[in-house]
Protein backbone atom coordinates (compact mmCIF):
# COMPACT_ATOMS: atom_id res chain seq x y z
CA UNK A 1 0.00 0.00 0.00
CA UNK A 2 2.76 2.41 0.95
CA UNK A 3 4.58 1.59 -2.24
CA UNK A 4 1.51 2.53 -4.27
CA UNK A 5 1.23 5.85 -2.49
CA UNK A 6 4.89 6.50 -3.27
CA UNK A 7 4.36 5.68 -6.92
CA UNK A 8 1.38 8.06 -7.06
CA UNK A 9 3.38 10.70 -5.24
CA UNK A 10 6.22 10.43 -7.75
CA UNK A 11 3.76 10.92 -10.63
CA UNK A 12 2.37 14.03 -8.95
CA UNK A 13 5.82 15.45 -8.23
CA UNK A 14 6.97 14.73 -11.77
CA UNK A 15 3.99 16.58 -13.28
CA UNK A 16 4.39 19.50 -10.88
CA UNK A 17 8.10 19.89 -11.55
CA UNK A 18 7.60 19.70 -15.30
CA UNK A 19 5.04 22.50 -15.26
CA UNK A 20 7.14 24.57 -12.85
CA UNK A 21 10.18 24.39 -15.07
CA UNK A 22 8.70 24.31 -18.56
CA UNK A 23 7.86 28.04 -18.78
CA UNK A 24 11.61 28.74 -18.62
CA UNK A 25 12.26 26.75 -21.78
CA UNK A 26 9.00 27.01 -23.66
CA UNK A 27 7.41 30.41 -24.09
CA UNK A 28 3.87 29.45 -25.19
CA UNK A 29 2.36 29.95 -21.75
CA UNK A 30 -1.21 29.78 -23.02
CA UNK A 31 -0.64 26.29 -24.45
CA UNK A 32 0.88 25.10 -21.18
CA UNK A 33 -2.01 26.63 -19.24
CA UNK A 34 -4.63 24.94 -21.37
CA UNK A 35 -2.76 21.65 -21.15
CA UNK A 36 -2.80 21.86 -17.34
CA UNK A 37 -6.46 22.86 -17.50
CA UNK A 38 -7.38 19.72 -19.41
CA UNK A 39 -5.15 17.53 -17.23
CA UNK A 40 -7.01 18.92 -14.21
CA UNK A 41 -10.45 18.55 -15.77
CA UNK A 42 -9.67 15.02 -16.96
CA UNK A 43 -8.74 14.06 -13.39
CA UNK A 44 -11.95 15.73 -12.21
CA UNK A 45 -14.06 13.63 -14.59
CA UNK A 46 -12.02 10.63 -13.49
CA UNK A 47 -13.18 11.12 -9.88
CA UNK A 48 -16.81 10.67 -10.78
CA UNK A 49 -16.71 8.57 -13.97
CA UNK A 50 -13.65 6.46 -13.26
CA UNK A 51 -14.68 5.41 -9.78
CA UNK A 52 -18.49 5.52 -9.72
CA UNK A 53 -19.40 5.06 -13.40
CA UNK A 54 -21.57 8.17 -13.66
CA UNK A 55 -20.74 9.83 -16.99
CA UNK A 56 -20.97 13.61 -16.43
CA UNK A 57 -21.88 14.84 -19.90
CA UNK A 58 -22.65 18.26 -18.45
CA UNK A 59 -19.31 18.53 -16.67
CA UNK A 60 -18.78 21.91 -18.31
CA UNK A 61 -21.60 23.25 -16.11
CA UNK A 62 -19.25 23.08 -13.11
CA UNK A 63 -16.45 24.64 -15.09
CA UNK A 64 -18.70 27.53 -16.09
CA UNK A 65 -20.11 27.85 -12.58
CA UNK A 66 -16.55 28.12 -11.28
CA UNK A 67 -15.51 30.69 -13.88
CA UNK A 68 -18.60 32.82 -13.24
CA UNK A 69 -18.62 32.34 -9.46
CA UNK A 70 -15.03 33.48 -9.28
CA UNK A 71 -15.51 36.38 -11.73
CA UNK A 72 -18.60 37.66 -9.91
CA UNK A 73 -16.75 37.53 -6.59
CA UNK A 74 -13.87 39.51 -8.10
CA UNK A 75 -16.18 42.09 -9.68
CA UNK A 76 -18.44 42.71 -6.69
CA UNK A 77 -16.22 42.13 -3.66
CA UNK A 78 -12.78 43.18 -4.93
CA UNK A 79 -10.99 40.54 -2.88
CA UNK A 80 -7.87 38.63 -3.85
CA UNK A 81 -8.46 36.66 -7.08
CA UNK A 82 -6.82 33.66 -5.45
CA UNK A 83 -9.58 33.56 -2.82
CA UNK A 84 -12.11 34.07 -5.60
CA UNK A 85 -10.86 30.98 -7.45
CA UNK A 86 -11.64 28.96 -4.32
CA UNK A 87 -15.04 30.65 -4.13
CA UNK A 88 -15.51 29.59 -7.77
CA UNK A 89 -14.85 26.03 -6.67
CA UNK A 90 -17.48 26.47 -3.95
CA UNK A 91 -19.95 27.82 -6.52
CA UNK A 92 -19.44 24.63 -8.52
CA UNK A 93 -19.95 22.53 -5.38
CA UNK A 94 -23.20 24.44 -4.74
CA UNK A 95 -24.28 23.62 -8.30
CA UNK A 96 -23.33 20.01 -7.64
CA UNK A 97 -25.47 19.92 -4.49
CA UNK A 98 -28.46 21.19 -6.45
CA UNK A 99 -27.88 18.41 -8.99
CA UNK A 100 -27.44 15.58 -6.45
CA UNK A 101 -30.96 14.23 -7.18
CA UNK A 102 -29.75 13.45 -10.72
CA UNK A 103 -27.55 10.71 -9.25
CA UNK A 104 -30.72 8.68 -8.76
CA UNK A 105 -30.84 8.26 -12.55
CA UNK A 106 -28.81 5.47 -14.05
CA UNK A 107 -26.40 5.23 -16.95
CA UNK A 108 -27.25 7.19 -20.04
CA UNK A 109 -30.23 8.89 -18.36
CA UNK A 110 -27.90 10.50 -15.88
CA UNK A 111 -25.60 11.61 -18.70
CA UNK A 112 -28.41 13.27 -20.65
CA UNK A 113 -30.01 14.89 -17.59
CA UNK A 114 -26.61 16.27 -16.62
CA UNK A 115 -26.14 17.62 -20.14
CA UNK A 116 -29.55 19.28 -19.94
CA UNK A 117 -28.66 20.77 -16.57
CA UNK A 118 -25.48 22.33 -17.91
CA UNK A 119 -27.37 23.81 -20.86
CA UNK A 120 -30.03 25.19 -18.52
CA UNK A 121 -27.33 26.78 -16.38
CA UNK A 122 -25.76 28.28 -19.49
CA UNK A 123 -29.07 29.75 -20.62
CA UNK A 124 -29.65 31.23 -17.16
CA UNK A 125 -26.20 32.82 -16.99
CA UNK A 126 -26.33 34.09 -20.59
CA UNK A 127 -29.88 35.42 -20.33
CA UNK A 128 -30.05 39.18 -21.02
CA UNK A 129 -32.30 39.67 -17.98
CA UNK A 130 -29.35 38.56 -15.80
CA UNK A 131 -27.15 41.36 -17.08
CA UNK A 132 -26.79 43.09 -13.68
CA UNK A 133 -25.15 40.00 -12.16
CA UNK A 134 -23.54 38.00 -14.95
CA UNK A 135 -23.35 40.57 -17.78
CA UNK A 136 -25.65 38.18 -19.67
CA UNK A 137 -24.35 37.27 -23.12
CA UNK A 138 -21.87 40.15 -23.16
CA UNK A 139 -19.20 38.28 -21.24
CA UNK A 140 -16.92 38.99 -18.33
CA UNK A 141 -14.00 41.40 -18.32
CA UNK A 142 -11.45 40.87 -15.54
CA UNK A 143 -8.62 42.84 -17.16
CA UNK A 144 -8.28 44.98 -13.99
CA UNK A 145 -6.87 41.98 -12.08
CA UNK A 146 -5.16 40.35 -15.08
CA UNK A 147 -2.03 38.48 -14.05
CA UNK A 148 -1.07 35.63 -16.34
CA UNK A 149 1.74 34.28 -14.14
CA UNK A 150 -0.42 34.17 -11.02
CA UNK A 151 -3.19 32.47 -13.01
CA UNK A 152 -0.69 29.93 -14.33
CA UNK A 153 0.62 28.94 -10.91
CA UNK A 154 -2.90 28.86 -9.47
CA UNK A 155 -3.82 26.37 -12.18
CA UNK A 156 -0.76 24.32 -11.30
CA UNK A 157 -1.90 24.24 -7.67
CA UNK A 158 -5.37 23.18 -8.76
CA UNK A 159 -3.89 20.41 -10.91
CA UNK A 160 -1.80 19.14 -8.00
CA UNK A 161 -4.89 19.20 -5.79
CA UNK A 162 -6.86 17.19 -8.38
CA UNK A 163 -4.08 14.62 -8.66
CA UNK A 164 -3.84 14.27 -4.88
CA UNK A 165 -7.59 13.66 -4.65
CA UNK A 166 -7.44 10.98 -7.35
CA UNK A 167 -4.36 9.37 -5.78
CA UNK A 168 -6.17 9.22 -2.45
CA UNK A 169 -9.33 7.73 -3.96
CA UNK A 170 -7.31 5.24 -5.99
CA UNK A 171 -5.58 3.85 -2.92
CA UNK A 172 -8.10 4.19 -0.10
CA UNK A 173 -11.07 2.33 1.32
CA UNK A 174 -13.24 5.22 0.19
CA UNK A 175 -12.16 4.57 -3.40
CA UNK A 176 -12.85 0.89 -2.95
CA UNK A 177 -16.40 1.64 -1.81
CA UNK A 178 -16.88 3.86 -4.89
CA UNK A 179 -15.71 1.03 -7.15
CA UNK A 180 -18.17 -1.26 -5.39
CA UNK A 181 -20.95 1.21 -6.26
CA UNK A 182 -19.78 1.22 -9.85
CA UNK A 183 -20.00 -2.57 -10.05
CA UNK A 184 -23.36 -2.99 -8.35
CA UNK A 185 -25.16 -0.49 -6.17
CA UNK A 186 -27.39 -2.97 -4.39
CA UNK A 187 -24.58 -5.35 -3.48
CA UNK A 188 -22.44 -2.42 -2.36
CA UNK A 189 -25.13 -1.21 0.01
CA UNK A 190 -25.60 -4.73 1.36
CA UNK A 191 -21.86 -4.88 2.02
CA UNK A 192 -22.21 -1.83 4.25
CA UNK A 193 -21.32 0.98 1.83
CA UNK A 194 -23.36 4.14 2.35
CA UNK A 195 -24.09 4.46 -1.36
CA UNK A 196 -25.86 7.82 -1.33
CA UNK A 197 -23.21 9.45 0.86
CA UNK A 198 -20.21 8.03 -1.00
CA UNK A 199 -21.41 8.94 -4.46
CA UNK A 200 -22.48 12.42 -3.32
CA UNK A 201 -19.01 13.08 -1.89
CA UNK A 202 -17.36 11.91 -5.12
CA UNK A 203 -19.75 14.09 -7.12
CA UNK A 204 -18.98 17.19 -5.07
CA UNK A 205 -15.22 16.59 -5.17
CA UNK A 206 -15.45 16.27 -8.93
CA UNK A 207 -17.48 19.49 -9.11
CA UNK A 208 -15.00 21.27 -6.86
CA UNK A 209 -12.08 20.41 -9.14
CA UNK A 210 -13.97 21.64 -12.23
CA UNK A 211 -14.97 24.84 -10.41
CA UNK A 212 -11.37 25.55 -9.40
CA UNK A 213 -10.29 24.95 -13.00
CA UNK A 214 -13.00 27.38 -14.17
CA UNK A 215 -11.90 30.02 -11.68
CA UNK A 216 -8.26 29.71 -12.71
CA UNK A 217 -9.26 29.82 -16.38
CA UNK A 218 -11.23 33.03 -15.83
CA UNK A 219 -8.34 34.70 -14.05
CA UNK A 220 -5.77 33.60 -16.64
CA UNK A 221 -7.91 34.54 -19.64
CA UNK A 222 -9.41 37.72 -18.12
CA UNK A 223 -12.03 38.10 -20.88
CA UNK A 224 -14.53 35.34 -21.59
CA UNK A 225 -18.10 34.76 -22.70
CA UNK A 226 -20.77 32.37 -21.44
CA UNK A 227 -20.49 30.48 -24.72
CA UNK A 228 -16.77 29.85 -24.02
CA UNK A 229 -17.03 28.55 -20.47
CA UNK A 230 -20.25 26.60 -21.06
CA UNK A 231 -19.19 25.14 -24.41
CA UNK A 232 -20.17 21.49 -24.76
CA UNK A 233 -16.72 20.97 -26.28
CA UNK A 234 -15.19 21.28 -22.82
CA UNK A 235 -17.24 18.33 -21.53
CA UNK A 236 -16.54 16.33 -24.64
CA UNK A 237 -12.80 16.93 -24.79
CA UNK A 238 -12.43 16.17 -21.12
CA UNK A 239 -14.37 12.93 -21.29
CA UNK A 240 -12.61 11.73 -24.44
CA UNK A 241 -9.18 12.58 -23.01
CA UNK A 242 -9.93 10.71 -19.79
CA UNK A 243 -11.43 7.71 -21.61
CA UNK A 244 -8.54 7.53 -24.04
CA UNK A 245 -5.97 7.40 -21.28
CA UNK A 246 -7.99 5.04 -19.12
CA UNK A 247 -10.19 6.07 -16.22
CA UNK A 248 -9.88 4.66 -12.73
CA UNK A 249 -6.15 5.33 -12.61
CA UNK A 250 -4.14 8.44 -11.78
CA UNK A 251 -1.80 8.28 -14.76
CA UNK A 252 -4.36 7.31 -17.45
CA UNK A 253 -6.26 10.61 -17.76
CA UNK A 254 -2.95 12.53 -17.54
CA UNK A 255 -1.58 10.52 -20.44
CA UNK A 256 -4.78 10.86 -22.49
CA UNK A 257 -5.04 14.61 -22.00
CA UNK A 258 -1.34 15.13 -22.71
CA UNK A 259 -1.37 13.19 -25.98
CA UNK A 260 -4.70 14.34 -27.34
CA UNK A 261 -4.54 17.97 -26.26
CA UNK A 262 -1.08 18.33 -27.80
CA UNK A 263 -2.43 16.82 -30.97
CA UNK A 264 -5.42 19.16 -30.87
CA UNK A 265 -3.04 22.05 -30.53
CA UNK A 266 -1.17 21.03 -33.67
CA UNK A 267 -4.05 20.21 -35.99
CA UNK A 268 -7.22 21.27 -34.22
CA UNK A 269 -7.02 25.00 -33.69
CA UNK A 270 -6.47 26.02 -37.31
CA UNK A 271 -8.82 23.43 -38.82
CA UNK A 272 -11.14 22.22 -36.06
CA UNK A 273 -13.15 19.96 -38.37
CA UNK A 274 -10.10 17.72 -39.01
CA UNK A 275 -9.66 17.25 -35.31
CA UNK A 276 -13.39 16.69 -34.84
CA UNK A 277 -13.32 14.02 -37.55
CA UNK A 278 -10.28 12.46 -35.95
CA UNK A 279 -11.66 12.31 -32.45
CA UNK A 280 -15.04 11.15 -33.71
CA UNK A 281 -13.30 8.12 -35.26
CA UNK A 282 -11.13 7.82 -32.18
CA UNK A 283 -14.20 7.55 -29.92
CA UNK A 284 -15.77 4.90 -32.15
CA UNK A 285 -12.50 2.96 -32.27
CA UNK A 286 -12.04 3.21 -28.50
CA UNK A 287 -15.51 1.88 -27.76
CA UNK A 288 -15.14 -1.01 -30.18
CA UNK A 289 -11.55 -2.04 -29.54
CA UNK A 290 -10.19 -0.47 -26.36
CA UNK A 291 -13.07 0.44 -24.02
CA UNK A 292 -10.74 0.75 -21.01
CA UNK A 293 -8.21 3.11 -22.55
CA UNK A 294 -4.49 3.04 -23.16
CA UNK A 295 -3.75 2.18 -19.53
CA UNK A 296 -5.55 -1.13 -19.99
CA UNK A 297 -2.90 -2.27 -22.49
CA UNK A 298 -0.28 -1.97 -19.74
CA UNK A 299 -2.58 -3.52 -17.16
CA UNK A 300 -3.13 -6.53 -19.39
CA UNK A 301 0.65 -6.97 -19.41
CA UNK A 302 0.49 -7.07 -15.59
CA UNK A 303 2.08 -3.63 -15.26
CA UNK A 304 0.73 -1.58 -12.36
CA UNK A 305 -0.51 1.83 -13.49
CA UNK A 306 -0.54 4.31 -10.59
Amino acid sequence: MRRRYLQALSVIILVAVVFLLLPRFYSNQSFLFNLMLYLGLAEGVNIIYGFTGYLPFGYVGFFGAGAYGSAIAITFWHISPFVCVILGGMAAVATGIVLIPLLRLSGAYFAIANLAASQALYLIVANPTMEKITQGPYGIDLSSVYNADAGYYTMLAVLVFAMVVVAYIRNSDFGLSLLAIKEDRVTASLAGVNVVRARSIAWMLSAFVAGLCGGAFGWFTAVFYPSTVFSLDVSVFTIVFALFGGVGTLAGPLLGALLLYSMYNFIGISTPQYFQLFYGFLIIGLVLFLPDGVASILQKGKVYVP
Binding site: L102, R104, Y109, A116, P128, Q273, Q276, G280, L282, I283
Partner: protein, 293 residues
Protein backbone atom coordinates in the same frame (compact mmCIF):
# COMPACT_ATOMS: atom_id res chain seq x y z
CA UNK B 1 -57.49 36.23 -26.97
CA UNK B 2 -56.33 36.25 -30.55
CA UNK B 3 -52.78 35.56 -29.38
CA UNK B 4 -54.05 32.72 -27.20
CA UNK B 5 -55.83 31.00 -30.09
CA UNK B 6 -52.81 31.49 -32.32
CA UNK B 7 -50.54 30.03 -29.66
CA UNK B 8 -52.65 26.91 -29.23
CA UNK B 9 -52.95 26.18 -32.94
CA UNK B 10 -49.32 26.98 -33.71
CA UNK B 11 -48.32 24.84 -30.72
CA UNK B 12 -50.27 21.83 -31.99
CA UNK B 13 -48.71 22.07 -35.44
CA UNK B 14 -45.27 22.66 -33.99
CA UNK B 15 -45.85 19.69 -31.68
CA UNK B 16 -46.86 17.36 -34.51
CA UNK B 17 -43.58 18.16 -36.23
CA UNK B 18 -41.64 17.57 -33.02
CA UNK B 19 -43.39 14.25 -32.59
CA UNK B 20 -41.75 13.31 -35.88
CA UNK B 21 -38.42 14.66 -34.62
CA UNK B 22 -38.54 12.34 -31.59
CA UNK B 23 -40.10 9.30 -33.30
CA UNK B 24 -36.91 7.91 -34.86
CA UNK B 25 -35.03 8.09 -31.58
CA UNK B 26 -37.83 6.35 -29.76
CA UNK B 27 -38.33 3.37 -32.06
CA UNK B 28 -34.59 2.69 -32.01
CA UNK B 29 -34.64 2.93 -28.23
CA UNK B 30 -37.67 0.68 -28.05
CA UNK B 31 -36.02 -2.15 -29.94
CA UNK B 32 -32.32 -1.81 -29.14
CA UNK B 33 -32.54 -0.15 -25.69
CA UNK B 34 -29.83 2.17 -26.94
CA UNK B 35 -29.86 5.93 -27.13
CA UNK B 36 -28.83 7.08 -30.56
CA UNK B 37 -26.91 10.16 -29.52
CA UNK B 38 -26.31 10.98 -33.18
CA UNK B 39 -30.06 11.30 -33.74
CA UNK B 40 -29.96 15.09 -34.04
CA UNK B 41 -27.10 14.79 -36.49
CA UNK B 42 -29.12 12.45 -38.70
CA UNK B 43 -31.81 15.13 -38.75
CA UNK B 44 -29.13 17.66 -39.66
CA UNK B 45 -27.75 15.40 -42.39
CA UNK B 46 -31.25 14.87 -43.80
CA UNK B 47 -31.81 18.60 -43.99
CA UNK B 48 -28.50 19.15 -45.77
CA UNK B 49 -29.32 16.42 -48.27
CA UNK B 50 -32.69 18.07 -48.94
CA UNK B 51 -30.98 21.42 -49.27
CA UNK B 52 -28.55 19.99 -51.80
CA UNK B 53 -31.33 18.27 -53.78
CA UNK B 54 -33.32 21.53 -53.85
CA UNK B 55 -30.44 23.92 -54.50
CA UNK B 56 -28.49 21.96 -57.12
CA UNK B 57 -31.03 19.68 -58.74
CA UNK B 58 -34.14 21.77 -58.15
CA UNK B 59 -36.00 18.90 -56.51
CA UNK B 60 -38.99 19.99 -54.45
CA UNK B 61 -38.73 18.98 -50.77
CA UNK B 62 -41.90 16.93 -51.04
CA UNK B 63 -40.47 14.96 -53.97
CA UNK B 64 -37.22 14.64 -52.02
CA UNK B 65 -38.93 12.61 -49.25
CA UNK B 66 -38.67 9.17 -50.94
CA UNK B 67 -35.15 9.93 -52.22
CA UNK B 68 -33.87 10.99 -48.81
CA UNK B 69 -35.68 8.07 -47.17
CA UNK B 70 -34.02 5.58 -49.53
CA UNK B 71 -30.56 7.10 -48.99
CA UNK B 72 -30.88 6.94 -45.23
CA UNK B 73 -32.25 3.42 -45.29
CA UNK B 74 -29.21 2.29 -47.26
CA UNK B 75 -26.93 4.29 -44.97
CA UNK B 76 -28.46 2.63 -41.93
CA UNK B 77 -27.66 -0.96 -42.94
CA UNK B 78 -23.82 -0.74 -42.90
CA UNK B 79 -23.92 1.45 -39.78
CA UNK B 80 -26.08 -1.10 -38.03
CA UNK B 81 -23.97 -4.11 -38.90
CA UNK B 82 -20.69 -2.31 -38.21
CA UNK B 83 -21.59 -1.23 -34.69
CA UNK B 84 -24.71 -2.63 -33.09
CA UNK B 85 -24.07 -6.41 -32.91
CA UNK B 86 -20.65 -5.74 -31.33
CA UNK B 87 -22.18 -3.28 -28.87
CA UNK B 88 -24.91 -5.68 -27.79
CA UNK B 89 -22.26 -8.30 -26.97
CA UNK B 90 -20.10 -5.81 -25.00
CA UNK B 91 -20.09 -5.64 -21.22
CA UNK B 92 -22.05 -2.38 -20.88
CA UNK B 93 -24.16 -1.86 -24.05
CA UNK B 94 -26.12 1.10 -22.70
CA UNK B 95 -23.14 3.25 -21.79
CA UNK B 96 -20.81 2.19 -24.59
CA UNK B 97 -23.43 2.72 -27.29
CA UNK B 98 -24.07 6.16 -25.87
CA UNK B 99 -20.40 7.06 -26.23
CA UNK B 100 -20.05 5.40 -29.63
CA UNK B 101 -23.00 7.23 -31.16
CA UNK B 102 -21.58 10.41 -29.77
CA UNK B 103 -18.38 9.70 -31.71
CA UNK B 104 -20.46 9.05 -34.80
CA UNK B 105 -22.19 12.41 -34.36
CA UNK B 106 -18.81 14.14 -34.31
CA UNK B 107 -17.75 12.39 -37.51
CA UNK B 108 -20.99 13.41 -39.24
CA UNK B 109 -20.68 17.00 -38.11
CA UNK B 110 -17.10 17.23 -39.36
CA UNK B 111 -18.00 15.66 -42.72
CA UNK B 112 -20.84 18.12 -43.26
CA UNK B 113 -18.45 20.99 -42.51
CA UNK B 114 -16.08 19.55 -45.15
CA UNK B 115 -18.75 19.44 -47.83
CA UNK B 116 -20.97 22.39 -47.04
CA UNK B 117 -18.79 24.68 -44.91
CA UNK B 118 -19.78 26.12 -41.59
CA UNK B 119 -22.55 28.34 -42.92
CA UNK B 120 -26.25 28.20 -42.33
CA UNK B 121 -28.26 26.73 -45.19
CA UNK B 122 -31.93 27.05 -45.90
CA UNK B 123 -34.69 26.21 -48.34
CA UNK B 124 -37.01 29.22 -48.70
CA UNK B 125 -40.49 28.62 -47.31
CA UNK B 126 -41.82 29.65 -50.72
CA UNK B 127 -40.71 26.27 -52.06
CA UNK B 128 -44.37 25.27 -51.71
CA UNK B 129 -45.72 28.54 -53.11
CA UNK B 130 -46.49 31.64 -51.09
CA UNK B 131 -50.10 30.79 -50.33
CA UNK B 132 -51.30 30.64 -46.76
CA UNK B 133 -54.15 28.84 -45.08
CA UNK B 134 -56.53 29.86 -42.33
CA UNK B 135 -57.77 27.95 -39.26
CA UNK B 136 -60.06 29.67 -36.72
CA UNK B 137 -59.18 33.03 -38.18
CA UNK B 138 -55.42 32.48 -37.82
CA UNK B 139 -53.25 32.52 -40.91
CA UNK B 140 -50.28 30.16 -41.27
CA UNK B 141 -47.83 29.50 -44.13
CA UNK B 142 -48.77 26.59 -46.37
CA UNK B 143 -45.41 24.92 -45.58
CA UNK B 144 -46.61 24.28 -42.03
CA UNK B 145 -49.67 22.45 -43.26
CA UNK B 146 -47.59 20.27 -45.59
CA UNK B 147 -45.11 19.53 -42.80
CA UNK B 148 -47.92 18.44 -40.50
CA UNK B 149 -49.46 16.24 -43.15
CA UNK B 150 -46.13 14.52 -43.83
CA UNK B 151 -45.59 14.01 -40.09
CA UNK B 152 -49.08 12.57 -39.68
CA UNK B 153 -48.41 10.33 -42.67
CA UNK B 154 -45.22 9.08 -41.00
CA UNK B 155 -47.11 8.38 -37.74
CA UNK B 156 -49.73 6.52 -39.75
CA UNK B 157 -47.02 4.43 -41.36
CA UNK B 158 -45.42 3.54 -38.02
CA UNK B 159 -48.82 2.64 -36.60
CA UNK B 160 -49.69 0.50 -39.60
CA UNK B 161 -46.30 -1.22 -39.49
CA UNK B 162 -46.51 -2.03 -35.79
CA UNK B 163 -50.16 -3.06 -35.61
CA UNK B 164 -50.99 -4.53 -39.00
CA UNK B 165 -47.93 -6.31 -40.37
CA UNK B 166 -46.24 -9.55 -39.41
CA UNK B 167 -42.88 -7.84 -39.00
CA UNK B 168 -44.56 -5.20 -36.86
CA UNK B 169 -45.92 -7.84 -34.51
CA UNK B 170 -42.46 -9.35 -34.24
CA UNK B 171 -41.08 -5.85 -33.59
CA UNK B 172 -43.49 -5.35 -30.70
CA UNK B 173 -42.38 -8.70 -29.31
CA UNK B 174 -38.72 -7.63 -29.44
CA UNK B 175 -39.65 -4.34 -27.77
CA UNK B 176 -41.40 -6.21 -24.96
CA UNK B 177 -38.60 -8.70 -24.33
CA UNK B 178 -35.62 -9.29 -26.55
CA UNK B 179 -34.60 -12.66 -25.12
CA UNK B 180 -38.06 -14.17 -25.18
CA UNK B 181 -38.53 -12.98 -28.75
CA UNK B 182 -35.27 -14.69 -29.68
CA UNK B 183 -36.35 -17.92 -27.99
CA UNK B 184 -39.68 -17.94 -29.77
CA UNK B 185 -37.92 -17.98 -33.12
CA UNK B 186 -38.10 -14.33 -34.18
CA UNK B 187 -35.18 -13.13 -36.29
CA UNK B 188 -34.27 -10.43 -33.77
CA UNK B 189 -31.19 -9.31 -35.65
CA UNK B 190 -33.15 -8.62 -38.84
CA UNK B 191 -35.92 -6.77 -36.98
CA UNK B 192 -33.35 -4.68 -35.16
CA UNK B 193 -31.58 -3.73 -38.38
CA UNK B 194 -34.87 -2.81 -40.03
CA UNK B 195 -36.01 -0.67 -37.12
CA UNK B 196 -32.62 1.01 -36.87
CA UNK B 197 -32.88 2.01 -40.53
CA UNK B 198 -36.48 3.17 -40.03
CA UNK B 199 -35.34 5.35 -37.17
CA UNK B 200 -32.76 7.03 -39.37
CA UNK B 201 -35.30 7.47 -42.17
CA UNK B 202 -37.77 9.15 -39.81
CA UNK B 203 -35.00 11.44 -38.54
CA UNK B 204 -34.03 12.42 -42.09
CA UNK B 205 -37.64 13.20 -43.03
CA UNK B 206 -37.86 15.46 -39.98
CA UNK B 207 -34.68 17.06 -41.30
CA UNK B 208 -36.21 17.86 -44.69
CA UNK B 209 -39.03 19.83 -43.09
CA UNK B 210 -36.97 21.38 -40.30
CA UNK B 211 -36.32 24.37 -42.59
CA UNK B 212 -39.96 25.40 -42.51
CA UNK B 213 -40.53 24.90 -38.79
CA UNK B 214 -37.21 25.49 -37.02
CA UNK B 215 -35.33 27.58 -39.57
CA UNK B 216 -31.92 27.37 -41.23
CA UNK B 217 -29.70 24.30 -40.76
CA UNK B 218 -26.08 24.37 -39.63
CA UNK B 219 -23.61 21.54 -38.96
CA UNK B 220 -23.57 21.83 -35.17
CA UNK B 221 -27.34 21.84 -34.70
CA UNK B 222 -27.44 18.13 -33.86
CA UNK B 223 -26.68 18.18 -30.13
CA UNK B 224 -29.55 20.48 -29.29
CA UNK B 225 -31.98 18.50 -31.45
CA UNK B 226 -30.91 15.28 -29.74
CA UNK B 227 -31.59 16.80 -26.33
CA UNK B 228 -34.98 18.12 -27.42
CA UNK B 229 -35.87 14.76 -28.95
CA UNK B 230 -34.85 13.03 -25.78
CA UNK B 231 -37.00 15.40 -23.71
CA UNK B 232 -39.95 14.61 -25.99
CA UNK B 233 -39.59 10.85 -25.84
CA UNK B 234 -39.07 10.83 -22.09
CA UNK B 235 -42.16 13.01 -21.79
CA UNK B 236 -44.15 10.66 -24.00
CA UNK B 237 -42.56 7.54 -22.50
CA UNK B 238 -39.43 5.72 -23.58
CA UNK B 239 -39.83 2.92 -26.06
CA UNK B 240 -43.47 3.66 -26.84
CA UNK B 241 -43.56 5.08 -30.39
CA UNK B 242 -47.10 6.40 -30.18
CA UNK B 243 -46.41 8.09 -26.82
CA UNK B 244 -43.91 10.21 -28.74
CA UNK B 245 -46.74 12.04 -30.48
CA UNK B 246 -48.19 13.04 -27.11
CA UNK B 247 -44.74 14.14 -25.94
CA UNK B 248 -44.31 16.19 -29.09
CA UNK B 249 -47.68 17.89 -28.67
CA UNK B 250 -47.01 18.83 -25.05
CA UNK B 251 -43.59 20.12 -25.99
CA UNK B 252 -44.93 22.09 -28.97
CA UNK B 253 -47.75 23.80 -27.08
CA UNK B 254 -45.44 24.55 -24.13
CA UNK B 255 -42.79 26.10 -26.38
CA UNK B 256 -45.34 28.25 -28.17
CA UNK B 257 -46.77 29.49 -24.87
CA UNK B 258 -43.29 30.34 -23.63
CA UNK B 259 -42.52 32.19 -26.85
CA UNK B 260 -45.77 34.14 -26.73
CA UNK B 261 -45.71 35.06 -23.06
CA UNK B 262 -42.14 34.69 -21.66
CA UNK B 263 -40.02 34.84 -24.77
CA UNK B 264 -36.70 35.60 -23.06
CA UNK B 265 -36.81 32.27 -21.17
CA UNK B 266 -38.28 30.10 -23.94
CA UNK B 267 -34.99 28.41 -24.87
CA UNK B 268 -34.50 26.93 -21.44
CA UNK B 269 -37.81 25.04 -21.51
CA UNK B 270 -36.78 21.71 -23.06
CA UNK B 271 -33.94 21.29 -20.59
CA UNK B 272 -36.01 22.07 -17.52
CA UNK B 273 -38.82 19.88 -18.82
CA UNK B 274 -36.39 17.01 -19.40
CA UNK B 275 -34.87 17.19 -15.91
CA UNK B 276 -38.27 17.60 -14.24
CA UNK B 277 -39.83 14.62 -16.02
CA UNK B 278 -36.82 12.38 -15.39
CA UNK B 279 -36.82 13.19 -11.69
CA UNK B 280 -40.53 13.23 -10.95
CA UNK B 281 -42.10 10.97 -13.52
CA UNK B 282 -39.31 8.94 -15.13
CA UNK B 283 -41.75 6.45 -16.61
CA UNK B 284 -43.13 9.22 -18.85
CA UNK B 285 -46.75 10.23 -18.98
CA UNK B 286 -48.03 6.86 -20.19
CA UNK B 287 -45.29 4.29 -19.63
CA UNK B 288 -43.07 2.12 -17.46
CA UNK B 289 -40.13 3.06 -15.23
CA UNK B 290 -36.67 3.67 -16.63
CA UNK B 291 -34.94 4.81 -13.48
CA UNK B 292 -33.18 2.89 -10.76
CA UNK B 293 -32.98 4.12 -7.19
Amino acid sequence: MNLFVYTIIAGIMYGIFFGLVGMGLNIIFGVLKMINLAHGDFIMLGSFLAYWLYGFLGINPLVAVPIVAAVFFLLGLPLYYAFVPRLIKSKDPEMLSFILFFGLSQVMEALVVFFFGNNQRSIPSTAFGSAGFTIFGQRFPIAWLITCLVALGAFGFVYWYLQHTRMGRATRAVMANRDEALVSGIDVERISALVFCMGLVLASIAGIFSFFVIGASYPSMGAELTTVSFAIIVLGSLGDPLGTILGGLIYGVAVMFMQSYFSSWAEILPYVLLIAVMLFRPEGLVGKAARSA
